[in-house]
Symmetry: D3
Subunit: 239 residues, 6 copies
């Protein structure tokens, strides 16, 4: 089975780190292909960047020659999963949703710890739309940007673990979800610090995608994700 | 005061029709400028098209030399309002939200009648995110596409009025919101058929935008819509 | 166009202050008529006073000879808007709801700062009934009564700004709504202190009422606000 | 123990019928005193009438010399319970809320059958404010006015039982609440027709009030229902 | 009338204390019969113990020879009320739900103070299922186990009153519900400390059960609580 | 990896059918062990049976000598998952929740089709507690009992497919969840009839359990599912 894991930012090193993380959990026989958008921001931390990423991810997938069995969108709280579901026939898994549903099996309430405060609303909106908000105890910001988290694991661990511990203590979270692609590799340290399970989005999404493929299930084409109607498009797909 | 009214599809005739509708309600001294995206679909009726429109609208506004006092996004249920709010300093009004808030003042529950069934989920999602869903009695589809509605007002009136009447009778709607830019001009006929107030999004958005400007209010920059951070962008803004 | 702006308390000075505030934002050609109830409390800060105000406002409007084009109920969180909508044919705008819907266009979440803690539940109830509660980050009390706010602008500014700043910092409010008629004139100072947009109910209601009139829309008579049935009334209307 | 049972309309015969119904269920030693408002409508079926009733009930209670141990407001879905709670020290029980909480103990979901369709929104609003809406399967109208229900028990039974049966069959109601004072005496017949428990508001409210008195509990004075502040009132209490 | 009051734990002293409390509020002519499960935990403070209690209570009631007029399940936040409702024809009252509905008549929001933090989720779940969560300001733990509360009233009062006061001050609770059978007898002291009404579950349940019996109402058999189908059971009822 | 798949009823043939279904989807190297409760009902279709099953499943798991890596509770909408999570250290997956979360990845709304109408409330309650209700378009009953579904696949297919088609057409479901263990093997036929993805609980739970084990995650022990306190138990564990 081949899974496309699509980064939402344009930083190739992040794509590579995400792919490494995906491969570490993938079943034998699963091939992970990392994709990077051709345009957009080096890190996605806001509304313009997220909407741009939605189209950038779509563009990247549509330009992949295939075949592939599933697509993982590796941005936490970003836009665009619905467009992918409409555009391709295989299962599409957003890491936000995969992490949240995984967390549901591990404790009564989960909290998300993300990068900057400005990305909190994006994550809350995505969880609301996904109907996964009621058991979310809150979304907290570590105060570090995506690339800072990526570049300084020691500082990242400290900042994330501090917020995670506060979520457990003050918000009654029982599970922590790492709410940023740049946090890959922090799960173990945060578990040690908080004593609760820590869910990382990319591995959760890979196992979810593998499960859907093994179950022989893909996106319903009956209504919301029916194939697009044939019509005149201007300048799309991007050349 | 100058208001940019941005179409979400690439059909210039629709932009013109929307601008005419906007001018009809605009106060003396308000200039309406219609904008058409440089890329995207001739009509927006799905997830890919809507995400593409979000970036197309943003692109159109960012390429406008200014100055302007407010921006109206003239697509019902489309993505992208949040990105516009982050990108510009002036008030941004989405016609979906303007129509819904207007309806709140007119009756206890409102229903939306839109184009195709496949666009219903997009509208429901937007109303959910906007916190305007609780008094929505439902979103119904007329079964006609955006351009069909535009081109055949007689058939459009019949299809829309039928669903509007059903919403009043079966769903206890007391107000009807026309949920598609292509329905401009149908309000009077639908009111006659149903006996309830009918809200059209573009006029509602123009009066809302004018009110915000007159009140001297614009988007809060404190958190969700704080200006984007300075960072490396690839291929953006589009040339 | 003539708009009746009806005070909910019996203090004529408050009626006059509200009318001045309304005139400051009204469009050229809009006449503002301030009305004061013939009975009730000098300030409305509780359940008895609010229910009494509902009937007092109704009484005041029914005794006005007309004509008028819209009615603004200038009490924050008070009862009675529904009765007015049933009693008159023109649009009715409650300042609570006008302020809240205006706030929706300015930021993701808004907070209300009101007078005394005992009025908080009244405001929460009104927002709940109006379906405008989900994006409300909270209602905070300044601790000053309605007439204290009116009489001592310096102390009022300090108390309101303190709570507004706390709402922004602790509750993630991005917009502040001034939740009391007695706060007119504080918006600018509170904006300066908090850096976020501040919405005042009376101006928001006037522009909303004007918009409804210009759009040619008024209350749906189909169900909730159908005209009252003809029946025997005892002692009503009050002589 | 003495319980004031206050009618919301001005029809003395309804007050008497309600008092009879109350006495039938009251414990030995409980005295039922029926009160009729001095002003208002002969039947309450809309917003103006309901707001007027809120003040009429308050006026009636405040003019009662006392002593009394509890107050029952015998109007289904009317305004004013909060004002009574603020005005008196003894427990106040609204029949809408007493019927609904009683129904919660009898089945998973209950439906209300009321008089006219125009009163449905009032009942829905009251249940929403009371936090009793989630297990309500719906509010249905019999199509008969309050006084018609009162005067023609055969026709009333037929109309109410028809809607009750539909609520059980189509809305999964397991309990029926009679949503109108004029329906007293129909419970047995509707139970026979539907096979499910039928709750009548006045008896439910009397047993609830008795229970509160026996438990030695009354309204909390800590915040929402704190005694009114001392202030200048105009024309109130009504002479 | 005879009411079975069934303890959820296997400690006979708790059963006796509960029965004493029940008798103190029961009407003349009401006989209270205390029952203790034959198996289970000496105190119920977790999921295994609560599920076991559900069956233990059922077992105890099914082995009672009868007759009886109502059953009270005297465990706060425990499982099993639905099974009892299916198994017997008389009204079943859970003390959690009786306390919460009683609290609704006394103030706008109530808080629960319970034993250990680990029982909070059980109570929250029960209130959610009962549709009684919206007016719950929160569930707080005293930090003392069920039997500690029972054995040391002075320490119990201190711990419970401290949390109750915090709920009033910080969570805007206006009524306190004692969320543990082991707290019987604390109501008066906690009222003195907090100044707000305090509801104890067992007395509230007894008056509720009496009211249902007097109203001639019992569980609807139409759907959720229809009698069990006849089928092969293994090892049940327990010998 | 070894997964215990525990039936909720006492019919060994159902346990075997469930195990076969589990093995069909299990990854190479996963051993499936089917367990049958020692007591309870031959099929679980109501509240008493479900509460009994909760303890029966717990009893079966606690008597298994181990080791095992995960537990799947193979009853749709039954009680007891929380008790299992508290009792064992490995991941516990309820098929209701696994099916629902799987469905979330496949379409915007899912519907459940179950056995008898009387089991619908149990399923709705479980989905509510799990926070998975908002995207559920409804739970429909096929009208066939658990064992009828098991024994007559042709009739079962017809009954289930009819309700599934109605859910897609009338309730806007885009995915169908088979809400009964006795429906194993129907997925393919129902997919053919409805054209939408059909999720079967047991396979979904097996892949979910495998994923959790591979991710190295298990139940949080921090609060809700903390190990039980040491205390005196009477007659438990059952001998």
């Amino acid at each position: 089975m081949r899974i496309l894991v699509v980064n939402v930012n344009t930083t190739a090193a992040v794509t590579e780190a995400v792919a490494v993380q995906a491969r570490a959990v993938a079943a034998p026989g699963t091939e992970i292909v990392g994709l990077t958008p051709r345009f957009g921001a080096e890190s996605v931390e806001g509304n313009v960047e997220s909407h741009l990423a939605a189209v950038g991810v779509l563009d990247a997938v549509l330009h992949h020659p295939g075949p592939y069995d599933a697509v993982v969108q590796a941005g936490f709280g970003e836009h665009g999963r619905e467009a992918l579901q409409e555009a391709v026939d295989v299962p599409v898994v957003d890491i936000t949703e995969a992490a949240a549903t995984t967390a549901l099996f591990l404790g009564r309430r989960y909290a998300v710890v993300t990068s900057l405060d400005r990305t909190v609303p994006l994550i809350e909106d995505r969880l609301l739309l996904a109907g996964l908000d009621r058991r979310c105890a809150g979304v907290r910001a570590s105060g570090l940007g995506v690339l800072e988290l990526e570049r300084d694991p020691v500082r990242a661990t400290e900042a994330v673990a501090t917020q995670a511990a506060a979520a457990v203590r003050d918000d009654h979270a029982e599970v922590i979800v790492l709410g940023c692609g740049g946090m890959s590799g922090l799960a173990e340290a945060v578990t040690r610090r908080t004593g609760v399970p820590v869910v990382d989005g990319v591995p959760a999404a890979v196992t979810t995608a593998e499960a859907l493929v093994r179950l022989g299930l893909s996106t319903s084409r009956s209504r919301t994700f029916a194939p697009a109607r044939t019509k005149n498009m201007s300048g799309w797909p991007f050349p």
